[in-house]
Amino acid sequence: MSELAKRRMAQVALAVVAVLLIARCFFTVDETEWAMVVRFGRLVRVVGDAGLHLRLPIDSVRKFDKRLQIYNPPATEMLTGDKKNLVVDAFVVWRIADPVRFLQSVGDNLGAEARLHDLVWSELAAAMGNYELGRLVAVRSEVADNGERTALTELAESVRERCRPNALRLYGIELVDVRLKRLNFPEQNKEAVFARMRAERERIAKRYLAEGEEIATRIKAEADREKERILADAYRQAERIKGEGDAEAARIYGQAFSRDPQFYKMLRTLDAYKKAMDDKTTVVLSSDSEFLQLLTRGRK
């Protein structure tokens, strides 16, 4: 290898080393990160601004996620104030607020979750003991839409308020939110719950059926009563009309017959005879009756 070639090689190597060294003096921080500059194991600087930053080539950089994190462990059983077992599914939203403290006390997200679990879930279990099931799960006639907090929110908020200072002071973690995602009965209690639900349904079904009978009977009875009323009313009118007819007829008869009551009596009697006597009637006639006078005695 010639002297020239050797010098070329050395130049190139130097250039590469220089470029690497210059690159080592810069580091980028993303919008989503905290960066910590560590020199010989000692924390020198914390960078929260995204962008390009300077450092000594000997410094190393550690990064933490700055964004909101969710911690949502599997649901656990807790006891309510009235000693009822509930399966509580809660979650925590947190972020690193003090990366220095976080680095020193926690180290990484897994460690953070373990500590949050100890801190928050013990508070949660304690708070749960202050609430009766009937308060957490209760029908509210007027469900408020704004402002008014439910017992569940209240409980979660109280836990958050209690854990917040410690989380920040001890672990550099900001507890953004604690929420009770879901309440349920433990599997072993569900049979009893289902039995209760079933009994309740049966009661409701019976009530519906009874109501149906009641309504139907009432409507039918009302219809029947109305029918009777209509018929009675019609009868009343009909009788009145008939009475009018009879009265009018009587008036007409009276007017006519009063001209000669004697003659009327005779005519009417004869008519009555015609009607009253039929072939089953046996009549005993005296021989001196008007009809037979001529028969027995001849012309008077």
Binding site: Q69, T150, A205, K220, R259, L270, K274, D278, V283, D288
Partner: protein, 297 residues
């Protein structure tokens, strides 16, 4: 040397990128947000590693299923039943599956505020849903209260997301896809539905009864009244007829009283007597032979 030039050219050209019509581009230069809202079209940015490009579909309505994990929903199998179970205010267990729909209105916050923005949205909606259901009676959740519940959950969840998280998302809608009793009590709920239908049917039957009975009664009433009217007409007409007959006869009678009276009497007797069984008794003796009467057939 030509080879190097070509390489540099290709590298520089790699900075061109296209933002789709439904997207917004967010460009980070050396980690810091450089362009917040790149509108659709062809754009240039310094190539990797100096910039990083994220495209966010801002027009797209994203869906989240609650009551079932997304992966399980994709696989189409029923989730762990407890996952979909909610407690109602009257301590019933209900299966509820809801879908939350949201859009991104602030791509920067959506990208950088949380490591799992969707996960937060899902959990907040689920929390609010559970909380609201825990204050309603089971029947209301299943029937009348559904729409109100959806609206309330959307509003409350939106407010929480806005005040506490600021994820740059807007909750468009929360829809209850399925509200059903758990399998072990399904038949009991079914029985209630049927009982309700039975009640309704009984009501209709009764109304039908009333609707047939009353017109019938009214018809009957009309008939009775019409009959009475007819009776009145008849009675008056008869009376007038009889009176006319009487007066006619009477005017005859007045002309020759004895003769007419006798004639009327005899005519009547003529008519009556042939039909009768007759026993004639002598007026003097006044005796009646009863045996003779009996012998008559």
């Amino acid at each position: 040397m030509r080879w190097l030039f070509g390489f540099v050219l290709v590298y520089l050209l790699s900075g061109f990128y296209i933002v789709g019509s439904e997207e917004v581009g967010v460009v980070r230069l050396l980690g810091r947000v450089w362009q917040e809202r790149v509108s659709p079209g062809l754009h240039y940015r310094p190539p990797f590693p100096f910039t990083r490009l994220d495209k966010v579909k801002v027009r797209q309505v994203r869906r989240l299923t609650i009551g079932m994990e997304a992966a399980e929903a994709l696989m189409g199998r029923q989730a762990n039943p407890a996952m979909a179970q909610f407690l109602t205010g009257d301590q019933n267990i209900l299966i509820v599956r809801a879908v939350a729909q949201f859009t991104v209105h602030d791509p920067v916050r959506f990208l950088f505020a949380a490591s799992d923005a969707e996960g937060i949205v899902r959990r907040v909606v689920e929390t609010v849903l559970a909380e609201e259901v825990a204050q309603m009676p089971v029947d209301e959740v299943m029937t009348t209260g559904k729409i109100a519940l959806q609206n309330r959950v959307r509003r409350k969840a939106q407010r929480i997301l806005e005040e506490r998280y600021r994820l740059g998302i807007t909750l468009v809608a929360v829809t209850l896809e399925r509200v059903a009793p758990p399998d072990p009590v399904k038949d009991a709920f079914e029985a209630v539905t049927q009982a309700r239908q039975t009640r309704h049917r009984r009501l209709l039957e009764a109304q039908t009864y009333a609707n047939t009975v009353l017109p019938q009664a009214r018809g009957e009433a009309q008939r009775v009244i019409n009959e009475a009217l007819a009776y009145r007409e008849r009675r008056i007409a008869e009376a007038k007829g009889d009176a006319a007959r009487f007066l006619a006869l009477w005017s005859e009678y007045r002309k020759a009283k004895d003769v007419t009276a006798a004639r009327l009497y005899l005519e009547a007797m003529e008519e009556i007597l042939p039909r009768l069984k007759k026993v004639i008794v002598d007026a003097q003796s006044g005796q009646l032979d009863v045996g003779m009467v009996r012998r008559q057939p």
